[in-house]
């Protein structure tokens, strides 16, 4: 555990709800985790588990009718001062400077992430001019340089092209270039490879790793793909219905998963060692409707280890099960409280 190092970003008990006529969707419901400088945090979960909304909450760009109702998001500034992002107005000067210069964002779908009627260069230059206080010409030079860094050939020509003129892989590289143009210390990549074909996926992941080494930036990698997590992440957060169900170092999560949901997820990956012609296990049932969340632990209706009278009554809190790993499940609650007296590890990751 990186206890010697202070986290770059700390999210505590984040709750982002969407208030709609039909009811309230608790998209993120008490997420807690840390991102450390220079490391990659993988956030994994099924569609609709609140991964993307978590990223949007951090950047304070949650769309109406969504709102952060509770929790803290603390960003350690370059000068060592902490900034509490939830206290800033989303459209304030300060918050806008944090977007782009401190935190960059890459989306899943590179085609629609670019404006269809502006050139790629226009959108990079705009970000550079906004944050770096340089003139048009210098910004352009810097933009070409950034495009070159992300491995786009002939960047001085590509810069004047539109997103629809680029191939899928190049588009995603250009997207990364936009996000990195002002040297952010944290890059949030929301499903960065999902829309790409497999070979391109590998190239983009390589690129991200390489850029991380060069720049020493932290990456928050959001994906539903456990393979990507295994390859990229240092630490992993597993989310289910807006809640963190388990977190820990990547090795611990893959080799000794504790939460029944994590275990089920891992079982459902096809592996080269698995017995041929045996049906791949799936998680029974489906994600409950967001308006219709089960009471208690959100996973209990699908959980193979459901304890009647407990799991459907109360919500389990996130507790440490080992020095580095914490789980939110009643299976481990008694063990922890009776055990070595470890205090509830809200601050641990």
């Amino acid at each position: 555990m990186q206890s010697e190092q202070k986290p770059l970003l700390s999210v505590r008990n984040l709750k982002t709800y969407f208030f709609q006529d039909e009811g309230t969707v608790k998209a993120v419901d008490g997420a807690t985790f840390d991102v450390y400088p220079g490391k990659t945090l993988g956030i994994v979960g099924e569609s609709g588990c609140g991964k993307s909304v978590t990223a949007q909450s951090i950047l304070r760009i949650v769309d109406q009718p969504g709102r952060i109702v509770d929790g803290e998001i603390v960003l350690r500034g370059a000068d060592g001062n902490d900034v509490e992002l939830t206290r800033l107005h989303p459209d304030s000067r300060e918050m806008r400077d944090i977007r782009g210069t401190e935190i960059g964002l890459v989306f899943q779908e590179p085609m629609t992430s670019f404006s269809p009627v502006h050139t790629v260069g226009n959108q990079i230059v705009e970000a550079i001019r906004l944050h770096c206080g340089v003139n048009e010409r210098e910004a352009r030079i810097k933009a070409v340089e950034t495009l070159r860094q992300v491995g786009i050939p002939k960047p001085e020509r590509r810069i004047d092209e539109y997103a629809f003129e680029l191939s899928g892989g190049l588009r995603q590289r250009a997207m990364i270039a936009v996000a990195l143009s002002c040297n952010p210390r944290l890059l949030i990549a929301d499903e960065p490879t999902t829309a790409l074909d497999v070979t391109t996926q590998a190239q983009i992941l390589d690129l991200l790793r390489q850029l991380q080494e060069q720049r020493g930036m932290a990456i928050m990698l959001i994906t539903h793909n456990l393979g990507v997590i295994a390859e990229m992440a240092d630490d992993v957060v597993v989310m289910y219905l807006g809640r963190v169900v388990e977190q820990g170092p990547v090795d611990a999560i893959f080799h000794s998963p504790q939460h029944p949901y994590t275990r089920a997820l891992l079982r459902s990956i096809p592996s080269i060692e698995s017995t041929p012609r045996v049906e791949l296990p799936t998680i029974s049932g489906s994600i409950p409707h967001p308006y219709n969340r089960p009471s208690g632990c959100p996973f209990y209706p699908r959980c193979p280890e459901f304890i009647p009278g407990t799991c459907d009554q109360a919500e389990p809190a996130l507790r440490a099960v080992s020095e580095q790993q914490s789980v939110s499940c009643f299976l481990y609650q008694s063990q922890v409280s009776q055990g070595q007296g470890t205090k509830p590890s809200e601050g641990m990751a």
Binding site: L59, Q64, I103, F107, T112, S113, P116, H118
Partner: protein
């Protein structure tokens, strides 16, 4: 890009051709022919026309020949800039139309400028502040604007102007300017009369444009590029104006292709009510009097004017939307 222009150009030419056919049908459709109406109008003014004279006229206009020959002859005349005689007026059609066609274009363009100037900001506001009170008011006004036909609005405006402001609304010029030759004072006079006309003519289109802009922008606001623009740290106002509004502008501009015919159509009726010196009242008179060359020419001119307007909007769209510029094929 060139393929796009050529395709649009071919369509424009086809449309003009279709309009010539329809105009010709309008000229041909009523029972009797041009000479019959001519004789009727002559004898009404006390001048008798002998059978031989009538026959000579028929041959002169080729009325004794098959219909397609007549069409080709008519087209040939038009190609030479001869549009025939306006019977009622006893003068060549183009003399009678005079600057009425130009004035029709002027009020149509003014109405479209008004429509856009109003619909654009209201549409943007309605989409960005969806479900706000302002949005509901705009939607309501939009619906009402949609429900009041242009001529009815003209009647109401005229009545209100007369009753409560004691002003006679109508016309494009003051009485003393109407027949004056064009000069600066007449131009200023026209500008003074234009706003009311533009509002009456444009309000129905405005309602539609607001709805189109609102729904287009709502679609665009949901797209990921808006969120990435926000994530780049642009201010909210700049995000919206530079990206989704800019993209939503394309379908907005492309509606010019049908907004223009709509406004020209409306101008006919509104001109009747507000007695504007456009081709509208002239067309109506010509149709009622079966002054067919005049009516056919006006329909043809209006059609061609619309096609040119649509073609300009196509070029505008190409200039503004790179996706069309780079379209292959």
């Amino acid at each position: 890009m060139i393929a796009y222009i050529i395709r649009r150009l071919i369509l424009a030419i086809l449309t003009i051709w279709a309009i010539t056919v329809l105009s010709f049908v309008i000229i041909q459709l009523p029972p009797g022919d041009y000479v019959t109406s001519y004789i009727a109008s002559m004898s009404a003014s006390g001048i008798g026309v002998t059978e031989a004279e009538a026959q000579a006229l028929r041959i002169q206009y080729g009325l004794d020949q098959p219909i397609y020959v007549q069409y080709l002859k008519w087209m040939g005349m038009i190609a030479q800039g001869r549009f025939g005689m306006a019977i009622e007026w006893g003068r060549p059609v183009m003399d009678v139309i005079g600057d009425r066609l130009t004035l029709t274009i002027v009020i149509s363009v003014a109405a479209i400028v008004f429509t856009w100037a109003l619909a654009l900001p209201i549409g943007i506001y309605s989409a960005v502040r969806r479900y706000s009170i302002g949005d509901y008011i705009a939607t309501l006004i939009g619906f009402i604007g949609l429900a009041i036909p242009g001529f009815m609005l003209a009647l109401i405006v005229m009545y209100v102007g007369f009753k409560y402001f004691n002003a006679s609304i109508g016309g494009l010029f003051s009485a003393e300017m109407a027949d004056a030759p064009w000069n600066w004072a007449k131009f200023v006079d026209l500008l003074k009369h234009l706003p009311v006309v533009a509002i009456v003519l444009g309000i129905g289109g405005t309602a539609q444009m607001i709805r189109i802009m609102r729904s287009n922008l709502l679609d665009e606001l949901r797209k990921p590029y808006v969120m990435t623009a926000r994530a780049r740290g642009l201010s909210e106002a700049r995000v919206i104006m530079k990206y989704p509004v800019r993209v939503a502008l394309n379908p907005f501009i492309s509606t010019l292709g049908y907004l223009f015919p709509y406004v020209v159509s409306g101008s006919i009726i509104v001109s009747m009510v507000l007695s504007l010196p456009t081709v509208g009242p002239l067309l109506l008179k010509a149709l009622i009097a079966q002054d067919l060359f005049l009516a056919g020419t006006i329909v043809l001119m209006l059609g061609v004017m619309t096609v040119v307007g649509t073609f300009i909007s196509d070029l505008l769209l190409m200039w503004i939307d790179p996706r069309i510029r780079f379209e292959k094929q």
